[in-house]
Each structure stands twice: as C-alpha cells, then as structure tokens.
C-alpha cells in the first residue's frame, strides 16, 4: 500500500487546465521528485498536495486518509518554500516554533523541540537572530528546521536550492539526502534541475504541460525514457536525437542517419527487436546519450553492440573529468563524451564507438518510444 497516493488529479484555472488526470504514488520513506520545465505544473501539483490550492477532480490520500478537502495545517505535512518564506519579524527560534505556538504546544515543549532541531541542523548559534541577518545557506537551514520541527508525515520541498549559489547547492543537496536517510520521512520535492532529480529521488515524475510523462525510478527514467521529451529533458548534456531511416538488406538491419546522400552515415544494427523491424524503410528518431558515444578506450567491452563510426570532430570541449567532442552525424550536431585525455582534435577525423545497447528509438510523429 502506497503512503502518499494521488489518483486522477485534475486542476483548472478557470477554463485553463493546468494538471490533467495525474496519478502518482510513493511508498513510505520514499523520495518523490517532480521535475519538468517551467510552467509544467509541478509546483501547482505540490501546492495541491499541500492544500494551498484546491483541486477540481481526483483524490489525495496520505497514509490511507483522504486529505483532499482538508486545510493545509490539518494534513500533517510541512513545506519548505523556494524563497524560504521566513517570517522577517521573528527570530530564528520564533520562526521554528511558530507552528507549534499556533497549535497551542506549551512553551517548554516548544523550546525542547527547537533545541533538538537546531542541533540536528547545526543552527543553535543562530536562534536569536532575525532572518535578515542570515546568509542564504543559513536561511535554507532555518526553513528546513521549521519544517522538521513538526515531524510531519510528508515533507514538501518547492525548489529549495534554486536560490543558492552552485557550490552551496551541491552541499545542501547532499545534506538533504543525508537528512532523508536519517529521518526516513516521505518527501515530495519539486525541481527543474534534472541533476537534483537524479541524485535525490527514489522515484521521479516527469511532467510537461500538466501531463505526467513518465513515472519511475531514476534509472528507468534515464535509461528507458518513454518518449522523446523525457529522453531530451533528463541528462546533461542532453541525449542526441537524430533522424534516420531503417533499411533491411539481406538480413542486415541498417540505420541511415541524415537525408543528404553524401553526408549519410549508416550504422549496422546487430540486434533488432520485432518492434523496430516494423519500421523497415521508414523514418525513426535514433537516440543515444553522449556517454554511449565515446572513444574506444572508454567504451565498455562487455557491451556487445559496439559499432565504430569515423567522424569529423568539429569542436573539442575539455571539461576536466571528461572531454566533450562535438561532431556532425547526418548533418546534425552530436555530442560525444570521451575520456579526459582522449586524443581528439578539432578538424580531424576520429573513430567513435557507438554503444547500441544504450541506444533508443522513437517514432518521429508520435514521439513515443519504439525500442
């Protein structure tokens, strides 16, 4: 039995639908990340779970209790807002204990809880300061403290790291993960950053235009994207998506990339599924992640389907840990991820290894996954 369960949830603003028939569930102690481009409805979905926005259809249950119509404070949830939303007129201690004060918790118990949480987050020395006197990272901790102190059944995070600088963001990300491992409380987390989604989640829900695109574990989302949108959105640099044509000649299945004859590249597909064979002599979209398109030394040899293609390297971007090489296949730009010390140079031809085990195929019109 799932812990947080969203069934057929729909929400409209007037006549404009913003969430369309969304069903999700997460087990107790899970970490659900809602991810998608801005305007996809992920924050709205979080707000409906919080009870800050009413829903038009569907149900939300937490621990087998229907909370769809309850006031936010009665849902046994706590939320960390993107802007932290600390009360500027109260001290850190006042901010953390405000919720307990509203619920009539006696003072000594409040003080005890504040101390406990501030020890956990190492903000004990800040308790008498006002939010205006804190740095971004400290405010973030206080905002988390305010949520933690309630010991809720579900934590909601609304893009909590987007206001921090890059280094602090990575630190806080680790800290949130550590906190989750320690407290084992169910978390729903909204972000537009797919790296955050991949690193934190036990389950990811990818949304676009108010429609749930795919719901699954990070590995499923990354390796088996259900459509081109998910494939393109998750992963950085993004998956290479190339238009190609399938052809079967003498039992050999080939993929021709590019329409222009002289720049055509053909790739032998060693294993082809039945689903792909239906597309004989038709266009498909061939998707391959940069790390599956690499130099021979880094190509994994236990992967059986390595195909060699000689490519003209146009740009080389050394990133320290890796080197990204940009080439063109069938007239379209493609990013390959090579070893840091890979011997490639701009303007020269190099052999690149395609790991076809990791390749995916999509239908060009429906954009859905074929194989």
């Amino acid at each position: 039995m799932s812990f947080l369960n969203i069934q057929n949830l729909s929400k409209n603003y007037g006549t404009v639908p913003v969430l369309k028939n969304i069903s999700l569930e997460i087990e107790e102690g899970g970490f659900l990340v809602l991810v998608g481009p801005s305007g996809c409805g992920k924050s709205t979905l979080l707000n409906t779970i919080a009870g800050l926005e009413a829903i038009n259809e569907g149900t939300i249950t937490i621990s087998a209790k229907d909370v769809s119509q309850l006031h936010p404070s009665e849902r046994d949830i706590a939320m960390v807002f993107q802007s932290y939303a600390l009360y500027p007129n109260m001290t850190v201690a006042g901010n953390i204990s405000f919720g307990m004060e509203m619920r009539g918790v006696p003072r000594d118990e409040r003080d005890r809880s504040v101390k406990q949480v501030s020890d956990l987050l190492q903000i004990g020395h800040l308790l008498n300061r006002k939010p205006g006197q804190l740095s971004g990272g400290q405010r973030q901790r206080v905002a988390m403290g305010r949520a933690l102190v309630r010991k809720p059944q579900v934590f909601l995070f609304d893009e909590p790291l987007s206001n921090l600088d890059a280094k602090l963001r990575v630190d806080m990300r680790t800290e949130i993960k550590r906190l989750h491992q320690r407290l084992k409380t169910t978390i729903v987390y909204v972000t537009h950053d797919q790296v955050e989604a991949m690193t934190l989640a036990t389950k990811i829900a990818v949304l676009k235009d108010g429609v749930l695109q795919q719901f699954g574990s990070p590995a499923e989302i990354y390796n088996d994207p259900i459509n081109m949108f998910v494939a393109d959105f998750m992963g950085s640099p993004a998956m290479n998506l190339l238009k190609g044509k399938m052809s079967v000649t003498g039992g050999k299945t080939q993929l021709m990339l590019g329409q222009n004859e002289e720049r055509c590249v053909s790739i032998d597909l060693k294993q082809t599924s039945a689903a792909l064979k239906i597309y004989k002599d038709k266009d498909v979209i061939f998707g391959i992640r940069p790390e599956a398109l690499t130099d021979f030394a880094s190509a994994s040899y236990n992967g059986a389907s390595i195909v060699k293609v000689n490519c003209l390297i146009e740009v080389v971007e050394p990133a320290g840990s890796d080197t990204f090489a940009i080439t063109k296949l069938g007239g379209k730009e493609v990013v390959a991820r090579l070893r840091a010390d890979a011997n490639v140079q701009a303007g020269q031809y190099s052999d690149l290894a395609f790991n076809l085990d990791k390749a995916v195929f999509f239908d060009p019109t429906s954009q859905l996954r074929i194989a």
Binding site: H71, P88, N89, M102, G132, R146
Partner: protein, 293 residues
C-alpha cells in the same frame, strides 16, 4: 557609485557651487520667512507689533501670547483659550487614524491575499472614493450622522473621518501587500495560522513603513480638516482648526496678532511632531531578509 558621485562633485567648480547653494539659500529663506515672522511675533508684546516692525526680533521677550492662546483667549463667546479644542482634536484624530489604518490594513490583506470574485471591482470603487470632493457629501453625511444620533459629537467626526479615510488607507495597504510575498502567508497557513492570526502575527508586524505613511497621511489630513469640523461639530465638540478660526475672527476689541500667531503655531504643532517622530521609520527596510537576498 559613491566614488563617481564625489568625482562629479569635485568637477563642479567653486563658482557653480556658490551659485547653486546661493539660490538654495535664498529659496529656503523665502519659505522660512513666514515661520520666522510667526515665531518672532508670537513672542512679542502686542504694542511692539503695532509699531510695525514685523521682521525685527522682540525687544521684550514674552510668552504671554502663548499662554493666552492656550488657556484664556476668547474663542467665540467663551474665554477658554484653545486648550479644550486641542483636546477635542486629539479625541477625534487618534481614534479616526487608528480605526481607518486598521481597517485599511485589513482591506489590503483581503484584497491581495484572499482574492474573491469581484474583489478588483470593490477595490476600484474604494479607490473612487479618494476622488470625491468632500463638499459634495456634506448634506448626505449630515443626514446620516443625524440618523445615527451622532450629529454634533466627536464620535460623529471620528466616524466621518474614518469613512473618508478608508479609500486612501485601503489603497496604501493594498499596494503594499500586493508586493508582500504570498509565500509568507502560505507558510503561515501551513503552520496552522488562520485568517486573523496570519494578519496579526505576519502581515501587520511587517507593515512598518506603510503604517507610518498611512498614519502621517491620515493624521495630517484629519488634524488639518476644517470643512467637516465646521459642518458637523457643536460648540463643545469643535476641533482645533475651527476654534483657531473663531479665535482669529473674534472681532471684539483689538486684533491680538501675537496671540493669533501663537495659536496658529499651536494648531500646527502636532502634525509637525508626527513628521519628526515617525519620519525616520520611513527609510527603514523592515522587509529585509524575509525572502531570498
């Protein structure tokens, strides 16, 4: 920024600066002259004024005119001085400012954070009340006050000033709360605070600058109001402005200019005081640190 400003200041030649400050000084003197005349002459015996030296300092310094204006001068028929009317004004201004400010804050809160169907229309109508000349509403207001049994009382004046202040106070607070982070209200909701708790504990404590602006605006307007004071008060509920008019216009005997000057300064003193005391809160950024920064 500051360095480029100081560089500009250096570039401005001595002659230019002399010219600029010279003009500023002349203008300042021109505007301060009436105040100077009022203060200087209020501290003279009447004989010195009658000799015709309005601009000179007193030969004989005296506060007799001030004490006369405050407690013994003839106002209408009673020789009471301005003291009782000063009290009337206070009894009128303080509740009227307080009620209008609180209601304005509450209106602003509802109009921005608890929007409902038609809230924009209601706001537009309240805004319209800012542009209605008071002269138009005098007769209907008098009728309403009469029906309510408040005509000729200080409570009636409080009521009328509250009602006509609401348009502006609502406008001020509505615009201030429009920019107030909604996430704070939502956080309070999540914390279990209800409508009024959120208002008292979150909105109001963070409204310092706009409260100051509203209080200064309302205080000045109501204290200085003559029209409503003259129209809706009885002899024993007249505000300061009406009493001052009666003091200056009491036409028996000689015109005691020194007393008139002292009375006029007394009448203007409270608004000055409000500016001086609360002006510094204007600049304080009370919202600092609530959200990202």
């Amino acid at each position: 920024m500051s360095s480029s400003q100081s560089q500009q200041a250096v570039k401005m030649g001595f002659a230019t600066r002399l010219l600029v400050y010279g003009i500023l000084l002349i203008v300042a003197i021109f505007y301060l002259l009436p105040l100077y005349i009022m203060i200087v002459n209020s501290l003279k015996p009447l004989v010195e004024i009658q000799q015709g030296n309005m601009l000179s300092l007193p030969h004989e310094w005296t506060v007799a005119a001030w004490s006369s204006a405050w407690s013994t001068a003839q106002i209408g028929v009673e020789p009471t001085g301005l003291k009782p009317y000063f009290l009337n004004s206070l009894l009128m201004v303080v509740p009227a400012v307080f009620i209008a400010t609180m209601l304005g804050a509450l209106n602003g809160y509802v109009l921005t954070k608890w929007r409902f169907r038609g809230s924009e229309i209601i706001f537009a109508m309240m805004l319209l009340s800012c542009f209605i000349p008071f002269q138009i509403v005098i007769i209907p207001s008098a009728r309403l006050l009469g029906l309510a049994g408040l005509s000729g009382t200080i409570a009636g004046l409080v009521a009328i000033h509250t009602v006509y202040g609401l348009g502006f106070t609502t406008l001020f607070f509505r615009n201030f709360y429009e920019a107030f982070p909604t996430e704070l209200v939502r956080a309070a909701q999540m914390d279990g605070a209800r409508f009024f708790q959120t208002f008292w504990r979150i909105l109001l404590p963070n409204s310092g600058p706009i409260i100051v602006v509203t209080v200064i605006w309302q205080f000045t307007n109501i204290w200085n109001d003559f029209l409503f004071g003259a129209s809706f008060s009885d002899a024993d509920s007249q505000p300061m402005t009406v009493a001052l008019n009666n003091l200056v216009n009491s036409s028996t005997g000689v015109k005691e200019y020194n007393v008139h000057f002292a009375g006029a300064i007394l009448a203007a003193l409270p608004t000055l005081l409000v500016y001086i005391l609360s002006g510094r809160y204007f600049v304080r950024g009370l919202m600092a640190g609530s959200v990202k920064g």
